[in-house]
Amino acid sequence: MTTDDTKTPGGAPISRRGFFDLALGGGVIALLGAILYPLTRFVIPPESPEAVASQVVAAKIGDLTPNSGKIFRFGKDPALLVLTKSGEYRAFTAICTHLDCTVQYRGDLERIWCACHNGNYDLNGNNVSGPPPLPLTQYNVTVRGDQIIVSKA
């Protein structure tokens, strides 16, 4: 009999069982969606307000001896201030471009060195040996009074 049958918008007949299968299947999918959506949103952490810093006091005159370096905090990341043998201040991001380790200044090599995988950068931040694929970003250094101020270029 066709009395139990209704028509889909397309005109094809849909049986009573087909209708209930569709309703049940749709209901189950809707239920799973209602569980999975909040769950996914919950797992993704809310964005924490990022400490945006465009300039920071990295050190004071006299903190560093020539041919040495110092890690300081720039925003939420570590950065490196170097006083070269010739008495010039230079600043770079301290995050190695290879795999995110924090680099350090090696006075014996006169290079910036990453201990994790033996990456080397020269005093312009260029990756000169080892695995780092890119140079370190360099920052501007200005001396105001006895404060050494580092700012993003």
Partner: protein, 358 residues
């Protein structure tokens, strides 16, 4: 296409190694007796559902919760305000904990009155009673974790009761608190107990409990009218009904959590006074209220000690119910047990209400 033959090949391959067709065979023959008390068979499943919800939401809360006195309250606050759907997850965890205990109590009393603990199901009852105690332990340890004022004092009182026990009391109290006072050390301990120790023990007893229920099948009440009743297949008939119940329970949970999100309260302050009208969670209220009524000394014994001994004996009696009721073991009705059960329910209900009214 070859979809179906491939599937059956994989199924056969797996079955050869896992032997799961035995489980399938078992499930196909399992049947549920139909009589006017069949509805009570759903309550264990409801308790189980709430437990599963607790595992799921508990794991989610672990993503953000920090178990130290300095950070616990703030991290729960963060979950409630900053994490998307955090309020929902935490509220469901709290509501589901309460519903789980509610269903566990109803399940226990229904099993008690239907004498489902009688031979050969004594050990199923014992494992169930242990699971109830573990659930109370979950409730007690989890309550402290948000590190708010109410939880702080509830834990002070709860652990202080341990200290009343003669001889080993002080030692027990120090172990429970991780020191002489309720402090950050207590919080860290309770956290470990709540998320590692109790889940491990509870899972073990749950598996034992469920395995025995499967092995023994459903119990029917004593009496000729329950013999040779109609039955329905467990799978799919009863299982689908269970699923409908679980879906409903989930709906109720979400509704409760949305309309009545769980409060966070004020951060615990060890130097603040206990707030007026303080009382424990409802499932501890009948004991709390009883301790209030016991005078400070009964004969030569301190009042609290008497209360503690009483409740301990009550707990032991609960575990031993199947062995105390010898008449049920002989398939005879036992009016005395029914009377005792009614008195216990009445006592628990009245004293719980008193704790809320007074």
């Amino acid at each position: 296409m070859t979809g179906s033959p491939t599937k059956s090949t994989v199924a056969a391959w797996l079955d050869e190694r896992l032997g799961w067709s035995a489980i399938k065979e078992f499930a196909q023959h399992k049947r549920i007796p139909l009589h006017r008390h069949t509805v009570w068979y759903y309550l264990g499943g409801m308790t189980l559902f709430c437990f599963l919800v607790q595992i799921g939401t508990g794991i989610l809360l672990l993503l953000y919760y920090r178990p130290t006195a300095e950070a616990a309250f703030e991290s729960v606050e963060f979950i409630m305000t900053d994490v998307r759907f955090g309020w929902l997850v935490r509220s469901i965890h709290s509501w589901s904990a309460n519903l789980m205990l509610f269903f566990a109590f109803v399940h226990m009393f229904s099993v008690f009155f239907l004498r489902a603990y009688r031979k050969p199901r004594e050990l199923t009852w014992v494992s169930g009673a242990l699971l109830l105690f573990l659930s109370l332990g979950f409730g007690f340890s989890g309550y402290l974790l948000p590190w708010n004022q109410l939880a702080y004092f509830a834990t002070k009182v709860g652990t202080d009761i341990l200290g009343q026990i003669p001889l080993i009391g002080h030692w027990l109290l120090t172990v429970a608190r991780g020191g002489d006072e309720v402090s950050g050390a207590t919080l860290t301990r309770f956290f470990g107990v709540h998320v590692a120790v109790l889940p491990m023990i509870a899972t073990f007893f749950l598996v034992v409990h469920l395995a025995m229920v499967q092995k023994q099948g459903m119990s029917v009440p004593i009496g000729p009218s329950y013999q040779n009743t109609r039955t329905m297949p467990f799978f799919p008939n009863f299982a689908l009904r269970d699923l409908v119940g679980w879906t409903l329970a989930l709906g109720i949970l979400v509704l409760l959590a949305s309309i009545f999100p769980w409060e966070l309260g004020v951060k615990a302050d060890p130097l603040a006074s206990a707030p007026a009208g303080i009382r424990p969670e409802w499932f501890f209220c009948f004991m709390f209220q009883t301790l209030k009524y016991i005078p400070s000394h009964v004969l030569f014994m301190p009042g609290e000690l008497l209360g503690i001994i009483g409740f301990s004996l009550g707990g032991v009696a609960l575990i031993l119910v199947p062995f105390l009721d010898r008449r049920a073991a002989r398939e005879e009705r036992n009016g005395l047990m029914t009377a005792i059960g009614c008195v216990v329910i009445l006592y628990m209900a009245v004293f719980t209400l008193l704790a809320y009214v007074r």
